[in-house]
């Protein structure tokens, strides 16, 4: 099992369904699922929570490390770090596109392992946000048998200016 492998858990699926306000019992009720000759399954965007199982995921506070959210001050980063280009631009990273292809259902008990393939990079000028730098990444999630379960393509954009609508 890779260090980024995601064990698919029933409680996690239930909490995910709650967070998207989805009452469908197929996401938490074993009896309902078996009446339909099915298993509990995960909602279509559940795989995004594989971030929980990535030990290095940068948008989760790490024990013993400074976090860039507020505490005593509006950001937990000290001035020098705050001004570094990488950190200030990370405030302006937005999710531009997300695409999923579903090859097999995702059920409790599955263990999915992601493999990421870097994709294209491109730039575009925008009136609202200045120079936009796009980058694409493709992640394949495979089960323990090595079968392809989900292909996910994500496009991120770094904006020059903060966007408001």
């Amino acid at each position: 099992m890779s260090k980024k492998s995601m064990p698919i858990e029933k409680g996690h699926i239930m909490m995910f369904a709650r967070a998207i306000g989805d009452k469908n019992p197929i996401y938490y009720d074993d009896d309902y699922a078996s009446q339909k000759n099915k298993n509990i399954i995960a909602p279509p965007t559940f795989i995004q929570s594989s971030a929980q199982f990535d030990p290095d995921y940068f948008l989760r506070p790490k024990i013993g490390e400074p976090w860039f959210g507020s505490g005593k001050t509006p950001t937990g980063l000290v001035k020098s770090e705050e001004k570094s280009n990488e950190e200030s631009s990370s405030n302006n990273i937005l999710h531009a596109e997300q695409h999923f292809e579903y090859h097999l259902p995702v059920c409790p008990g599955d263990i999915l392992t992601p493999t990421s393939i870097p994709g294209k990079k491109w730039e575009k000028e925008s009136k609202r946000a200045g120079l936009l730098k796009f980058s694409e990444s493709v992640t394949e999630y495979r089960n323990e048998k090595g079968e392809l379960v989900i292909t996910a393509k994500s496009v991120g954009v770094v904006t020059e200016k903060t966007v408001e609508n």
Binding site: D54, T75, H95
Partner: protein, 138 residues
């Protein structure tokens, strides 16, 4: 769920997927998805450090809400493709409606493959997500 014997290209469907989005629901999504970015979870940081008017929803929360409409319409486990572009931000207090239009129907021996154009709009009729979905229904 739609009745595959009665559908036609051009048919429209819609569902309100959230009414008056709360900051708590955004935090709930952060907790379950693992994306704790303070622009979504920390009003002080979002306003004072980045200059947003408030926190705003994860794009993936809006995609999850949109997916709920699609699974209600197309049935459990039937989606084969689902792709979106995030066109505007979603803020606390927003109410979102997902609309889907059938663009293609292919009947094969035991299954029907349906492709839809999908848009989620806020209360001001501004699209926050545009995309498409394909489902196989047997």
């Amino acid at each position: 769920m739609l009745d595959i014997n009665k559908i036609q290209v051009g048919d429209n469907f819609s569902e309100e997927v959230v009414d008056n989005l709360t900051r708590t629901q955004i935090v709930q999504y952060a907790g379950v998805s693992g994306d704790y970015n303070p622009i979504h979870t920390d009003e002080v940081f979002a306003k004072e450090v980045v200059g947003y008017p408030s926190v705003f929803a994860h794009g993936m929360l809006t995609m999850g809400l949109t997916g709920k409409m699609l699974t209600n319409l197309l049935g459990d486990g039937n989606l084969k493709k689902f792709g979106v572009r995030f066109t505007n931000q979603v803020w606390p207090g927003d109410s979102l409606t997902t609309k889907a239009t059938i663009t293609e129907i292919n009947k094969e021996s035991e299954k029907t493959i349906i492709t839809l154009e999908v848009t989620t709009e806020n209360q001001n009729k501004i699209a926050v997500i545009t995309g498409s979905a394909t489902a196989t229904i047997s």
